[in-house]
Amino acid sequence: MAEQSTICMVEAINLALHRAMADDPDVVVLGEDVGPNGGVFRATLGLHERFGFRRVMDTPLAEALITGTAVGMAAQGLKPVAEIQFMGFIYPGMEHLVSHASRLRSRTRGRLSCPMVIRTPHGAGIHAPEHHGESTEALLAHVPGLRVVIPSSPRRAYGLLLAAIADPDPVIFLEPSRLYRSVRQTVEDDGQPLPLDTCFTLREGSDLTLVSWGAALKETLEAAGRLAEQGIDCEVIDVATLKPLDTQTLLASVSKTRRCVIVHEAARSYGPGAEIAAILQEQLFHELHAPVQRVTGFDCVIPYARQEMAYLPDVDSICQAALRTMEEAP
């Protein structure tokens, strides 16, 4: 029987990495400080000791290089899992993500492919220095050919990471750093991937659909609880895979509830919520009782630690938007 333990998200990620490396010799890990140090968040702890320097590689400090090297490894059929230390440092690798990782299959009409994973901590709220709280998933989700996945619990982190590593195409795996150690769950180390391309319904409800992902689900679920006290029965959906988007689950939920509030940490304008709102109004124009609302981070630079928390969507904002949405007559 598979071992089961109560662990936090970063431990679940570590477990999935151990599992994937043990099961498949083609899985390799690279990045800054992923070796003996085990990663600055300890996500790669023990990998270096267990699998050796040949498969667990501390790189020089260069994110374009890390990303491009992963592309080259993946083209050779390895399954590189590269860590970018914080999402704020992913940008030097953008050229490789946009112009290569996402295109290698298309460019060669399937002759070469790019089964790589980029893991990186995502989101604000841990009082880290500037650039350590980015949530720019929209920049990646816009790129055809990439997959973008954001887990929101230890169990989903475990299963989705296994799926990301097994996937034959490039996956950006964004790990909400605010959740790394704040929630514990029993996770069975059964090597079972969770499906990519599927939203998870975390709570069923009939009055209103709350759509979110990553760390913002914490406040979203809390808001659902508070709204329940007020007699509003919310369905809560964890998008989990932003690209490609599972529109079916979203449409099914909102055609049932006819009301929707989207919650995300990312800046509002041209943010990921816009796409979901646009699709819902396109497809469910006649069903919707109220406009799709967005509760989001702001269109400003994410403030340093002292003012950081005011940037994040809070439970009150979500409840207010939900109440506004409920006010609209059917």
Binding site: R55, G72, A74, R105
Partner: protein
Amino acid sequence: MPLSVQIPFTRYLDDQGQPLGELPGWVDDPELLLHLYRQMNLVRVFDQKCIALQRTGQIGTYASTLGQEAIGTALGRAMTDTDVLIPYYRDTATQLQRGMKMEDILLYWGGDERGSARSSSVAAEDFPICVPIATQATHACGVASAFRIRQQPRVAVTTCGDGATSKGDFMESLNLAGVWQLPLVFIINNNQWAISVPRSLQSAAPTLAHKALSAGIPGEQVDGNDVLAVYDRVHAAIERARAGKGPTLLECVTYRLGDHTTSDDASRYRSAEELTEAWKHEPIGRLQRFLHQQGLWNEQREQALQQQLGEQVNAAVDAFREVAEADPAAPFEHLYQQLPDSYRQQRDELLARAARLAGGEHG
């Protein structure tokens, strides 16, 4: 004052094809010499055909290899079948030597992704042409790392231009190759120009091989118009890498005798004198004169060769013209290994637009 460092420079033949000293032993192999000569000529004939096809709208923008035939030819020949090439866009010579079909190369420049799909069996793992400058160097690091991880005796070879050496990717890659001692050979095709920017404005380094010093790896220069010199040094670098002795940077000094691409007009920014001077050093005539001296070549043979190459190239052009239309759904078929359901509608929309275009309907 910057330190002055002497970088090795190799040249075996002068412009007249006269040996400058003792030649390496392998030069005694007439078959190899004639192969290199034939191949360089093929590249030139094919190149002229490509330009003609572009001028008549049969292919798109094309990057000529005129004057730089020795580099890719020697390089492709020095690589073994199990090695992997990670090229840039001025690598027709290398691709031909790696067994890629001319019709595939034409397809690529003709604006059809299938050109990068149908590689030869030798080139099956080779990377397609890379357009974003210098990014291929990091991919080469990944390929070479895979060889190292799997402990395979294979070598990755990557090429780039002189301009590319200024971009971070190139230098980050050299540096990684040094620390990880990767089985990786970096070839710089220093043709003196990056579009309109001359080598002198690209870097104050006395040679581009100097870049190797910053990565702790061997760097050398070679006369890129002397195919014997290029073959010798590339071969040595590849075998050195194969033996586990790490990466090498090889700067091949040559000259871009053509425009940057068919979209460019080099006469806007460089002098006719410079061009005339550069023609004196071009590689094919040099080898031809050497072969003449060695009694390996004559006028008749030359005529026969040119005739044969012309026919070969024409046949390839015919084959290129006969390639069936691409599947209009291809952009979605090869986006992911399996197309997500939610993309089907967009694929249908694409097909509809394509059908309207093909039907010559409005808009």
